[in-house]
Subunit: 380 residues, 2 copies
């Protein structure tokens, strides 16, 4: 998904890329005062972080722009420039938060691939490059390989912590009034707590600790990805643009719905999507035994006996995985999730569409519906 | 080590305990809005966090008091109370930071015991209680045990992230002037970065990725524990008490030296100390193959051939571990590290003792030397 390809203009997105580059360069330089190893970690992180789709920065920047549309913009060029710097910093922090979560997710899930390339753990574990790390290991790891993998995973935990810290530092040092800063910090806190709660549900469902129920799975989707991907950027935009409280509340509800639709799409893509496009391990959800809405539906059908033995089998080959996908389609799970997405998108239209709440300005509505349209059609 | 048993008065330390209780209760309540699982995690965390020695809060509070001694204290009882609330919040945040680091350290080291009891991971992994989790597992884990352990470790990563976030939130929302808050945030950032850099060196040395050299090991000691345990509390006290820059610089140097001495003592305790007193797995450093100053010295002696095969052997029994300890003593490694500690304590005296830099007030000197004395004699 490339949210907001039309707005904001490419110049604004490239400002985030430039700010990210400056951030990593600064971190590499700072790390050098503590020896080469931390500097090398930041360098690897910089390389792995490149090429991200900047989903969260784009949503934030599009919404700031939409909320400001129609209001008299400052004629003072210094003020305009300062505002842009401020917004770029927040947008960059949102991307760093995402990257921090990805790193810890990959540690927890044991993933070594992201966007079709070795992720940071894969890179650190496999130097010199070792193809056995590109997917599920086929043979038991040697002692030396296990040590490298431990080093790589530990490094990812540690770098994730540094990134999380930096996001807080960026928010805490924003040059804005105390009230706005404190609101933004609160939104950040909520988003982090939701993500942790969602990831905990995800792990507990996978590990068979938490009973698999559709309600829990949908709550997990919303918490794990929805809040920080949609609700946080949209509400942060409302704070930055000084939007009225009712509009922020609409954006909060819309953000939660977008988050749900996004995660449901993600579950579909992992099973039915093209791995070349979505960039993750093909069928990784099936191999890891993820409890998704697809699986929850399938449990209640007669196909379950044929699906269950393959779920969570790390050594599953492609043909077996494809037959699980076919079963998930035949039993109606795919259609069920597709309907759930459509229903969620309809609710989004009701919240923020042109026929919805009259208090939503047209430009704001356009951004929300643009995201919804891209969600429906996304392949990555 | 119970730093500052005399000062600050017990009332102040108990204020931190009370604030920690309030913190965890609030977190449990907040988590309940996201379902029972996160609330249960916070409850387990609260139970496991109890009984800490509050080393960092005590250092901070003792130093604030020492820096204020001799200055005219406010006669306004409201101002005094506000200052105490402010200081208690910082002290509490320092303890939470410590707890966040412990959690992630335990994940990285695979530890299941802390202070002689199952740590958070041990508790979560072993419900219902399972003695096989109380130490190194003796038999391969069943699939169900592996899932519980994965759930437990993932939960510890996630809770560590929440605690780290909360520390930033507490610092960012301190009710003080902007300059002080920004100085405190900067000190926090430095301490976290140092700890990560030190932990990375620790892991890299253990996993054989980073070459074992005494210089690297000493740098690791300083970075991993020294900055956040001593330099951060001492310098934060300087900021809070409005101490002059030169005095803060003395405290920074002293903090680094205290950190080095503390970590060297820790290494000695793990091998030669009484596990009933220090509370960690007996001989865990030897079993985990930690690269300590002891090991670095032993490498260069003729005893090394007898020590090397036992290092990093998870299944090492107590008799074997005791014979490694005896070798480390016989080859002179213990004496070498004890001398290094004495030398470091001498340098601390030079920095902050009564015959040292004349600009160090007597009360400040007394606190620093009190910490040094406790360090020398510590058993836990």
């Amino acid at each position: 998904m490339v949210v907001g390809t039309k707005s904001p203009e490419p110049r604004t997105a490239s400002a985030v890329v430039a700010e990210l580059d400056r951030f990593f360069s600064r971190k590499i330089r700072d790390a050098e005062t503590r020896g080469i190893w931390l500097a090398q970690l930041w360098e690897s992180a910089h390389r792995c972080a490149r090429g991200g789709k900047l989903v969260r920065p784009r949503i934030f920047l599009s919404m700031v722009e939409a909320l400001r549309a129609g209001t008299v913009s400052s004629s003072n060029p210094d003020a305009v420039r300062d505002a842009r710097v401020h917004e770029t910093r927040i947008a960059t922090a949102l991307e760093l938060l995402h990257y921090s979560f990805l790193l810890h997710d990959d540690v927890i899930d044991g993933d070594l691939v992201r966007r079709g390339e070795p992720n940071l753990i894969g890179v650190l574990a496999a130097a010199p490059p070792d193809p056995s790390f590109a997917g599920a290991p086929t043979a038991p790891l040697s002692d030396a390989q296990q040590r490298r993998l431990h080093w790589a995973r530990s490094s990812a935990v540690l770098l994730g912590n540094l990134l999380l810290s930096e996001v807080h530092q960026i928010f805490a040092s924003l040059e804005t009034d105390e009230a706005s800063r404190s609101r933004l910090l609160e939104l950040l806190d909520t988003a982090i707590t939701d993500s942790v709660a969602g990831e905990q549900l995800d792990v507990g469902l996978c590990d068979g600790i938490i009973p698999s129920e559709l309600g829990t799975i949908l709550e997990m989707c919303r918490l794990k990805t929805g809040t920080y991907t949609f609700e946080l950027p949209l509400r942060a935009a409302a704070v930055v643009a000084g939007a009225p409280a009712e509009l922020e509340a609409v954006l909060a509800r819309t953000g939660r719905l977008l988050g749900l639709a996004f995660q449901l799409q993600d579950d579909l893509l992992s099973v039915f999507g093209d791995p070349v496009l979505h960039g993750k391990d093909a069928f990784s959800d099936i191999r890891e035994g993820k409890e998704t809405a697809l699986v929850s539906y399938a449990r209640r059908t007669s196909s379950w006996a044929r699906i269950a033995p393959s779920l969570g089998r790390e050594t599953l080959d492609e043909a077996d995985a494809r037959s699980v996908a076919a079963e998930l389609e035949a039993c109606g799970a795919r259609a069920f999730v597709e309907e759930a997405i459509e229903e969620t998108l309809t609710r989004i239209h009701r919240e923020a569409g042109p026929d919805g709440d009259a208090s939503v300005p047209e430009a704001v509505s356009a951004v929300v519906l643009g995201i919804a349209v891209e969600l429906r059609g996304r392949t990555s």
